[in-house]
């Protein structure tokens, strides 16, 4: 077996048994990146030297009996996480050659547990997008392709497109990602890997470039549900540097993956049966529910009546917060600065921000500025906050009847790089099944569950109660076992 084909769990076992060293494992991944990244563009920055140093240090720690839970595991870090001494771009020109003098809490937690960082994964600019097409560092190619149309390059989804593509193509054993409206789950589903957005507050946001603070949440992408569980345990934990971080214990998520779903009540929200949904997705959803019923779970039809308002609500709240969060990129202290002789401060702002931000980011800053403006605030922002509370209440009421909710992860399989790019609203529809979990702050897991007629992966989503990721993992792992998803992408090492 090629070392890049290990699951994360398998790699930890091999490293523990000594059948492979961290250095060998890291070298294999760096070779794979060297071969495939020029095509896939999953990494913006590859930190080969640093990765090898970290791997050697890891092997040394293991020799000394100091191995951490992720000792020697090579990972990709979404380029939204600030990494000390390593350029962090957020997929934007405006950060220029910004090199953070600090480490994000989540990546610091991974390093604490022994992980090796291969590099910084590509993403939509400031995590705004569903196709990774808005990255200033070029689009990412999905390693999967259509059976009947292998020439058409497909998007990996977004915004964590680089993370999902890297994991699918065996360019990392796992990756960090972030999810504001679906940015972990949608690319995971498009690339046939697993990804979880945990409960808001589970992972610290300290050191993650902010998009929409009340929605942003870090989480892992990996090839199995259990691998996600192992990564999430290391990433999680209370952080006094993030006032919205939750001071709650971090359970053994991997142990929860082996829990039986027998007796669990699984909610099936009728509002997620949307018009125009491909029959294949509807069929996969039904199939997933049957698997769970066969495993002893009880299916319960539920209603989440405000679901149809989730997307418009999200596209008010997220841009509003983004318009304020992105105000700091002004050319004054760090990052890109564009000025000409005789410019005053306003000219400096305008030139820098005009050159530094891409079209989608500008669009969202404009929308966000508009909905917060005097005279519009009540009609948009305030109304959206009220609807957000209703969406949360829908879920609160559902938890009286069910223990987890299962839905499709996305309304379609991965689409072509040149499709859906004209109309931003069509693009926004990608998030229709995922935004609700962000608005309500709930954990949501995407699991690869089948292929469409073109041979492209399709995912299911498991949503759970706040801070009950364990049930989410149990249900996700059960789906994974039943689906027995063994298909492989066309572009990968060893293919």
């Amino acid at each position: 077996m090629h070392p890049t084909d290990f699951t994360l769990r398998g790699a930890i076992e091999a490293l523990t048994e000594g059948t492979i060293s961290a250095e060998e494992l890291t070298r294999a991944h760096l070779d794979a990146i060297e071969r495939l990244n020029p095509r896939l563009n999953a990494y913006i920055t590859v930190t080969a030297e640093q990765a090898l140093e970290q791997a050697k240090a890891s092997d040394e720690r293991r020799r000394q009996g100091l191995a951490g839970p992720l000792e020697g595991v090579p990972l990709a870090i979404k380029d939204l996480f600030c990494t000390k001494g390593v350029r962090t771009t957020a997929g934007s020109r405006i950060l220029g050659n910004f090199v953070p003098p600090y480490e994000s809490t989540v990546s610091a937690n991974l390093l604490r547990d022994g992980a090796v960082f291969l590099g910084k994964a590509n993403l939509d600019e400031f995590a705004m997008g569903s196709s990774n097409a808005t990255s200033a560092f070029g689009p990412v190619e999905n390693p999967w392709s259509r059976r009947n149309d292998p020439e058409t390059k497909l998007v990996p989804g977004g915004s964590s497109g680089g993370s999902a593509a890297a994991v699918a193509a065996r360019l990392a054993l796992g990756a960090t990602a972030t999810d504001t409206g679906g940015s972990i789950r949608q690319p995971a589903a498009f690339c046939g890997v697993a990804g979880i957005k945990p409960t808001y507050g589970r992972c610290s946001r300290f050191g993650i470039v902010a998009f929409a603070s009340s929605l942003d949440q870090a989480g892992p992408v990996a090839r199995t549900v259990e691998d996600c569980a192992i990564l999430l345990r290391s990433m999680s934990g209370f952080d006094p540097k993030d006032s919205t971080s939750a001071d709650v214990p971090v359970p053994d998520f991997a142990a929860a993956c082996t829990r039986s779903v027998k007796g669990l009540r699984i909610g099936v929200p009728k509002e997620y049966r949307i018009e125009g949904m491909p029959a294949e997705i509807e069929a996969l959803w039904r199939q997933g529910l049957e698997w769970l019923r066969d495993a002893g779970a009880e299916l319960v039809e539920i209603s989440l009546p405000h679901t149809k308002y989730a997307l418009p609500t999200y596209y008010i709240v997220a841009p509003a917060e983004a318009s304020s969060n992105l105000a700091r990129y002004d050319g004054v202290r760090y990052g890109l600065r564009v000025e000409e002789r005789g410019d005053d401060l306003t000219d400096l702002y305008e030139r820098t921000r005009a050159a530094g931000f891409g079209a989608e980011v500008k669009r969202r800053i404009m929308i966000g500025t508009y909905v917060l403006s005097a005279g519009y605030y009540d009609a948009y922002y305030l109304k959206a906050q009220k609807v957000r509370a209703l969406i949360k209440r829908d879920f609160d009421q559902a938890w009286d009847k069910v223990d987890a909710i299962v839905t499709p992860a996305t309304p379609s399989a991965a689409f072509g790089m040149n499709e859906k790019t004209d109309d931003p609203v069509t693009m926004y529809l990608n998030d229709v099944f995922t935004v609700t979990a962000n608005l309500a702050g709930l954990p949501g897991l995407a699991v690869p569950a089948g292929l469409d007629a073109q041979g492209l992966p399709l995912g299911l989503q498991v949503i759970g109660r706040a801070f009950d990721e364990e049930t989410v993992f149990a249900v996700g792992a059960a789906l994974e076992r039943s689906a027995n998803f063994t298909a492989l992408p066309a572009v990968r090492v060893g293919a």
Partner: protein
């Protein structure tokens, strides 16, 4: 008769409200651990949070919250157990985040009231609308380079309390007295040092004018006035400007103005149309600020005695006049000094010495009471030497001057200079006899009815005794001998 300004067309009344920005005394900033000391080298007290770096998050400083609560309690105001931080969005080079974290809709402190004292001895209540916590911005330095502005972020993120008054003031004097009283209360509480020349307290002054009995007319805001005197001047200058506008048939437009201290006039800064749309919204990085009522009670129980209470106590327990009690409590350092002197001694005598000789000496030597050359303990000891008869009042003044010069204790000075008062009747009688013998003619005049000469004899005797004779005894012996 209330204060009015006489225009060409008749009298005008003033309506004044103040928004005071007071820098909170705290070791660290409102949302970061960076230090807050005044006068540090530029950009040496800046965390990545204060500089608005990517991914940085604010975390509330508990001590700043405690200071705001103490201040609220000191202003007799309502403490809101639930408050919230909002973002005030605007672009400026010294505002690194592109927004200021403030409290817009739900301030930590609600309605309160303080009482101000006026020159004529009357008092007046001024309402406090609210107090909220917010971050300060950095400082732009425009004079360091011919074409560039420099930015110092030391102040960025420092905690400020914005204290908003009701439009309850009606004259420059009231505005000045309000600011003075507010400053006094904050300094007593230890929540703001009140150093207006260092910028730790500054006021935005809202002024409008109206005909007596009318409702409110349009107000203008005069920004960033940095002394009590300038506040009073700005109120008057702005009121006179508005009166002129109205009297010439114009309309006062709501706008923000600046006070030109050199010319004593206000200038337009920006009109209502140019006003920013700050796009306030709740800061999603900060959960609502929820206070434990027990903690508030704890803070309340540990509040120091405030100026009004202390003044009342001086009048009640020490029998001081309202004026003396007022003067002695203006600064808490003065009050502390006075209480040390007065402890176990005659409080009125202590007040006279502190307000008389001590204040004069401080003025003369340009020292503050904190670094007075005469310590409170030494001044007390001086009073003791008077009481036990060691020193006459006159000698005491002499010893005091020596204390101002040398900083020494009065006992030491008395010993060194031999200034002990003479109470030995024999010595006094001898001196009296000598004086009377040398002035036989004056004695004759006195005896023929020229009573005024008694003072002359006292003076001569004291002179003969180098001022050390006990005045009462000298009088007594003279009366006896001239009998």
């Amino acid at each position: 008769m209330s204060y009015t300004i006489e225009g060409r067309t008749g009298p005008w009344e003033l309506v004044i409200g103040l928004e005071v920005h007071a820098q909170v005394i705290s070791q660290a900033k409102l949302f970061s651990g960076a230090a807050t000391a005044f006068g540090a080298e530029p950009n040496t007290q800046v965390s990545f949070i204060d500089a608005g770096f990517p991914g940085m998050l604010p975390v509330i400083n508990r001590e700043c919250v405690a200071q705001a609560v103490r201040t609220g309690l000191g202003l007799n105001a309502q403490v809101n157990l639930w408050s919230r931080f909002d973002r005030k969005n605007y672009f400026y080079a010294d505002l690194p985040q592109g927004y200021q974290i403030s409290q817009y809709q739900h301030p930590i402190i609600g309605h309160g009231v303080i009482e101000i004292e006026l020159q004529d001895g009357s008092t007046k209540k001024v309402g406090i609308t609210r107090l909220h916590l917010e971050q300060d911005a950095g400082k732009s330095l425009h004079d360091q380079h011919p074409t560039k502005s420099f930015i110092d972020l030391n102040r960025s993120g420092v905690a400020l309390m914005e204290i908003v008054s009701e439009p309850d003031m009606r004259s420059p004097e009231e505005a000045g007295a309000y600011l003075a009283k507010l400053r006094q209360i904050l300094r007593y509480l230890g929540t703001c040092d009140g150093n207006m020349d260092e910028g730790s307290m500054r006021a935005d002054v809202n002024v409008s004018v109206r005909r007596p009995g009318e409702g409110f007319r349009t107000r203008c805001e005069v920004k960033n006035v940095n002394s009590i005197r300038f506040v009073m001047q700005a109120v008057e200058a702005e009121a006179r400007r508005q009166i002129e506008v109205w009297e010439e048939g114009g309309t006062v437009e709501q706008e923000t103005r600046l006070f030109d201290t050199a010319r004593g006039v206000t200038r337009s800064m920006r009109s209502k149309e140019e006003a920013h749309d700050y796009r306030y919204f709740p800061d999603p990085d900060l959960p609502p600020l929820v206070l434990d009522p027990a903690w508030v009670e704890e803070l309340k129980a540990s509040l120091p005695e405030l100026p009004d209470a202390r003044r009342a106590r001086y009048m009640r327990d020490f029998g001081l006049t309202a004026y003396d009690a007022h003067v002695l409590t203006l600064e808490k350092e003065t009050a502390a000094y006075y209480e040390t002197v007065a402890k176990g001694r005659d409080p009125k005598l202590a007040a006279n010495w502190v307000m008389g000789d001590l204040f004069a000496a401080l003025n003369r030597t340009k020292r503050s009471i904190e670094d007075s050359p005469v310590s409170a303990e030494n001044l007390g000891a001086l009073l003791d030497l008077m009481k036990d008869g060691t020193l006459s009042g006159k000698l005491a003044k002499e010893v005091f001057e020596a204390m101002v010069e040398t900083g020494k204790a009065p006992g030491a000075i008395v010993e060194e200079r031999g200034l002990r008062q003479v109470t030995d009747t024999g010595a006094i009688e001898a001196a009296v006899d000598k004086v009377l013998a040398a002035n036989a003619d004056k004695v004759a005049e006195y005896k023929s009815g020229k009573d005024k000469l008694f003072g002359f004899f006292v003076g001569q005797v004291m002179k003969a005794m180098q001022g050390k004779g006990n005045p009462a005894l000298v009088n007594q012996v003279l009366k006896q001998k001239l009998g």
